[in-house]
């Protein structure tokens, strides 16, 4: 069943609540006991935008979300919503809607009562509460389930009710805490489209917290990459993907090959590096590096391809395994220096040009898909050079 693609009613005026309130974080620091969860984070989330906080568990993204919602008070720093400093404002007065990973619907209240909860708490007159409930349940295609209890709904339905509940409270900003984690793959995609559409129509500033880089890439206009309580990079998905600012950002988002190299020459913005596996290529260095310095060249698998002969920007290798993955084929090759690398190519109809065991050359196509980072972060030489 896929009701999400059914024609939907047009939004009514009352639902267009979000007028794009910006969120400003200034120097936020928070510790739990001795553990520093968030370290001096400053960030501006533009009004009406959808921003993803992306990082592994423990990176501080949920702490930031809870601080914005007002559930925790950071030890240092300040939070403003729509220009108003909310540090001393209790969560029930912040106008911040939040959808939890487990939805946190009120289990003893019906779907309609759940959705009515916010407007009722805000003292909205009864007739208007009913209108808000109907309108928002219609918005998420759950009008037929108004009398059900949450436990009688599927996970996807519960999430839509959670969304209707939060929208009925007419929040200034919307926080989504890993909202798709409990959904299966197809439903997740539908809900992502649904939320993105609603967010855009309502012009509602939305912060999505996720550890899923694909989800962040597909949904957000801007991604904030967090690691160990710090911001690693802020940028558009394509920026973060193509021009990672740090080794962490490069390896956490998408998969990449890290190839050891040394700086050979620097001219302007381009830096020429000599690969340990042989060959020289030009790349982009996020930070200034000295000639002769040991670096890691980060190359995405789709920025490499298998070729037959040697040449400029090509590295000798031997094909080890080929794995067809739908529209692409991923080859694992062993480079001249013994390191393994992954090469992703579109699958052709001609059948495989190379067989496992064949000597091949790998061509690096680095127009925008490579960056170099100072080496030394990868201590163990035996460590897999794949992220």
């Amino acid at each position: 069943m896929n009701v999400l693609h059914a024609p939907r009613p047009a939004l009514e005026g009352a639902a267009l609540s979000g007028t794009g309130h910006a969120v400003t974080l200034t120097g936020i620091t928070h510790r739990y006991g001795g553990f520093v969860a968030v370290r001096d984070v400053s960030l501006e989330v533009a009004g009406g935008s959808l921003v993803a906080f992306l990082g592994p568990s423990g990176c501080g993204k949920s702490t930031l979300l809870r601080a914005i919602a007002g559930f925790i008070r950071p030890q240092a720093g300040s939070i403003a919503i729509g220009g108003e400093v909310v540090d001393d404002v209790r969560p029930n007065r912040r106008g911040v809607g939040i959808v939890f990973q487990n939805y946190a619907l009120f289990p003893h209240l019906s779907v309609a009562e759940n959705v009515a909860y916010g407007p009722q708490a805000q003292g909205v007159p009864r007739a208007q509460v009913r209108a808000l409930v109907e309108e928002n349940l219609r918005l998420v295609q759950m009008a037929d389930y108004a009398k059900r209890l949450p436990r009688e709904l599927s996970g996807g339905q519960q999430q839509r009710v959670a969304l209707a509940r939060v929208l009925a409270a007419r929040p200034r900003i919307l926080l989504l805490d890993e909202p798709f984690g409990a959904l299966d793959k197809n439903l997740r995609f539908d809900m992502q489209i649904e939320i993105k559409r609603l967010q855009r129509e309502l012009n509602l500033t939305t912060i999505l917290v996720t550890h899923d880089q694909e989800e962040a890439m597909s949904m957000a206009e801007r991604i904030v990459v967090l690691n160990q309580g710090r911001i690693e990079q802020v940028g558009a998905p394509s920026d973060v993907y193509d021009r990672p600012a740090t080794l962490f950002a490069g390896t956490f988002i998408g998969s990449t090959n890290l190839l050891p190299a040394r700086i050979a020459a620097i001219s302007g913005a381009t830096t020429r590096v000599r690969l340990a596996a042989g060959g020289e290529v030009d790349a982009v260095a996020p930070a200034p590096l000295g000639i002769g310095g040991r670096v890691l060249l980060s190359v995405r698998p789709e920025r490499m391809r298998l070729v037959d002969g040697p040449g400029r920007g090509r590295v000798a290798a031997r094909l080890d395994v080929s794995m067809p993955l739908g529209a692409t084929v991923v080859h694992e090759v062993i480079l001249a220096d013994g390191l393994r690398a992954k090469v992703s190519e579109p699958r052709t109809h001609d059948g495989p040009a190379h067989r496992p065991g064949d000597p091949v050359h790998v061509e690096l196509r680095l127009e925008s898909g490579a960056a170099i980072f100072p080496d030394g972060l990868v201590e163990d030489p035996e460590q897999e050079n794949q992220a």
Partner: protein
């Protein structure tokens, strides 16, 4: 859903020792008690319903039954007033404070009810701790009669029964999803609305279990009732005891027992029914 552990066919035999024990020492005596109550004479020779008709036709008996059930209601009400704030503190507490609270709740259970009851005599007597405190603070001019009064009995039972109310209540609080409370706040509800509309309804199953335990336990608290209540306050258990051991009227004592058991069961059934309809809400 966890996979069910497969067991050999005869798994019900595992319950056999307990069934045997309960059959011999609980069910059989209970049936014997019921049987004895259907005899008209103290010598248990003439079968009949006169013990029941006799009980029901005397207003004194009704008053004893009523006071016993009322005592249960009062103790339940008082333990509720003490237990809910502690349960809410538990809900708000972090893991370390929760462990401390749980310890404090459990410690009284490690002391025997008899010991605690006699301790309350020391506390409640005319020269006891409570009266000396009240006198020295100038709250009262003369010692207050607490021992052998219902007030004294309720105070003592509150302390004795409190863990039975707290344990089930705290266990639902521990399972309550903190996100649900956070969601209520984020939707604009203040603490009071969150308490009334979310926390209280969701704690109802635990509360129902606590009410059941405290009610059944305090209406049948023979030791506390007779030691602190003394001979002047007569509740059903003491009534039974007097009839059986002083007047040797075993059939009448049996009939009173059966009536008490039925009355408590009826209340228990009602509470259990309420609790069950609320229980599904927590494990939704």
């Amino acid at each position: 859903m966890a996979a069910r552990v497969t067991m050999p066919e005869g798994r019900f035999m595992l319950a056999f020792p307990m069934l045997l024990f309960f059959g011999a020492f609980f069910v059989a005596p209970l049936l014997l008690l019921v049987a004895v109550s259907f005899f008209d004479d103290p010598d248990i020779t003439v079968p009949g319903l006169s013990q029941y008709t006799g009980f029901l036709s005397d207003a004194f008996n009704w008053r004893v039954l009523g006071q016993t059930l009322l005592l249960g209601v009062k103790v339940v009400a008082c333990t509720t007033l003490l237990a809910y704030p502690i349960a809410l503190l538990f809900l708000a507490a972090g893991p370390r404070l929760r462990r401390v609270l749980l310890m404090l709740i459990l410690v009284p259970l490690l002391t025997s009810v008899v010991v605690r009851t006699f301790a309350w005599i020391v506390l409640l007597s005319r020269e006891g701790v409570v009266n000396s405190l009240l006198l020295s603070l100038g709250i009262v001019g003369a010692p207050v009669q607490l021992l052998h009064t219902e007030l004294g009995l309720i105070i003592a039972l509150m302390q004795i029964e409190l863990p039975l109310m707290l344990l089930p209540l705290v266990s639902v609080m521990a399972r309550l999803d903190p996100n649900v409370v956070a969601a209520s706040q984020a939707l604009g509800a203040g603490s009071w609305r969150t308490l009334v509309r979310v926390i209280l309804p969701l704690s109802l199953p635990g509360y129902a279990a606590g009410v059941l335990l405290v009610f059944a336990s305090s209406t049948a608290a023979f030791v506390s009732q007779s030691v602190i209540g003394g001979g002047r306050l007569i509740y059903m258990p003491l009534f039974v005891y007097q009839q059986a051991t002083t007047l040797y009227n075993w059939p009448f004592a049996a009939a009173i027992s059966v009536i008490l058991v039925l009355a408590i069961s009826l209340v228990a059934f009602g509470i259990n029914h309420l609790g069950r309809s609320a229980r599904g809400n927590i494990h939704g």
